[in-house]
C-alpha cells in the first residue's frame, strides 16, 4: 500500500504503536472517577478543554504507561519495516550484514540498537514510576 521507502517504514512503525497507546488511553479514561467527567460535562467544556483540563491530568500515569509501550513497539516496527521494505536505515544495514554474514557488523548493530532501546526504556520507566508515586 505504501510501497518501499520512507512511507512504508513510518506506516509500519505507526501501526505497531497506535494500538497500545489507544488501548491504554481507553482504559485510563474509563478508570477516571465518573464525578470528574460528569462535572466537566455539566460545565459544558468543549472537547479540547475536556482533554486538557480533566482527562490528561487525571489519567496521566496510565496514559504514560501506554506511551512507554508504544515507544518500544514503534521502535520495533520501524526497524522491522526497514529490514524488509527499505534501501536505507539501520534495519537495512542489519539485513545487509545478515545477508553477507558480516558478524562484526551484525553484533555491533545489535549492540547499539539494544543500548539505545535499553537506555530509552530505563528513562521512560523511571519517569513512569515518578508519575505513579506522585498520585
Amino acid at each position: 500500500m505504501f510501497g518501499l521507502g520512507m512511507s512504508a517504514k513510518v506506516a509500519f512503525g505507526a501501526i505497531h504503536g497506535i494500538i497500545p497507546v489507544a488501548l491504554f488511553t481507553i482504559t485510563a479514561v474509563q478508570n477516571i472517577r465518573p464525578v470528574l467527567v460528569k462535572s466537566a460535562r455539566m460545565m459544558r467544556l468543549d472537547p479540547l478543554d475536556m482533554v486538557r483540563r480533566i482527562l490528561l491530568p487525571a489519567a496521566l500515569p496510565e496514559i504514560f504507561t501506554g506511551l512507554r509501550i508504544g515507544f518500544s513497539l514503534t521502535l520495533i516496527g520501524t526497524l522491522l519495516g526497514e529490514m524488509f521494505a527499505s534501501q536505507r536505515g539501520i534495519g537495512f544495514l542489519l539485513m545487509n550484514a545478515i545477508g553477507l554474514h558480516n558478524i562484526d557488523l551484525i553484533m555491533a548493530l545489535t549492540f547499539l540498537i539494544s543500548l539505545f532501546a535499553g537506555a530509552a526504556s530505563f528513562i521512560l520507566l523511571f519517569l513512569d514510576r515518578r508519575l505513579y508515586a506522585r498520585v
Binding site: 513510518v10 505507526a14 505497531h16 488511553t25 481507553i26 520501524t78 536505515g89 553484533m107 547499539l112
Partner: protein, 114 residues
C-alpha cells in the same frame, strides 16, 4: 534518591552484568563462526559510529522513527480519548483493537523476503 530508585539502579546494573557474562560464555562455547566477544563488539561499534555512511543510515532511521512515533501518539491518544468517553463505542471497538494488537504485524507483508 529514594529506596525504590536505588533498587532499580541496582537491578539495571545486575542485568547488565548477567548479560555480559552470558554473552562471553556463549562466545566461548560457539566461537568465531556466529558470535563476537563483548570486547570485540565494543571495539567494532566504536569504529562504526565514526564512519560517515553510518550517520546517513542513523539519520534515516531516526527520521522514520520520529515520524512513526508522532503519528502513533497523536492517533492513539485521539482514538483513546474519544473511545474512552463513549462507553458504547469502546465496547464495540476494543475487542477489534485487542485482536489486531495480537497479530504479528509482519504477517501483513504478503511477500516480505526471499
Amino acid at each position: 534518591m529514594s529506596a525504590t530508585s536505588t533498587q532499580s539502579w541496582r537491578n539495571a546494573a545486575r542485568l547488565v552484568v548477567v548479560v555480559l557474562v552470558a554473552w562471553q560464555l556463549a562466545y566461548w562455547v560457539v566461537g568465531e563462526v556466529a558470535l563476537r566477544s563483548p570486547a570485540e563488539t565494543l571495539a567494532f561499534a566504536a569504529k562504526l559510529v565514526q564512519t560517515p555512511s553510518f550517520y546517513a543510515h542513523v539519520a534515516e532511521s531516526t527520521k522514520a522513527f520520529a515520524l512513526a512515533l508522532l503519528i502513533a501518539v497523536a492517533v492513539g491518544l485521539a482514538a483513546g480519548f474519544l473511545l474512552g468517553l463513549n462507553r458504547f463505542a469502546s465496547d464495540v471497538v476494543e475487542p477489534v483493537l485487542v485482536a489486531f494488537y495480537s497479530i504479528p504485524k509482519i504477517t501483513l507483508y504478503y511477500r516480505s523476503c526471499c
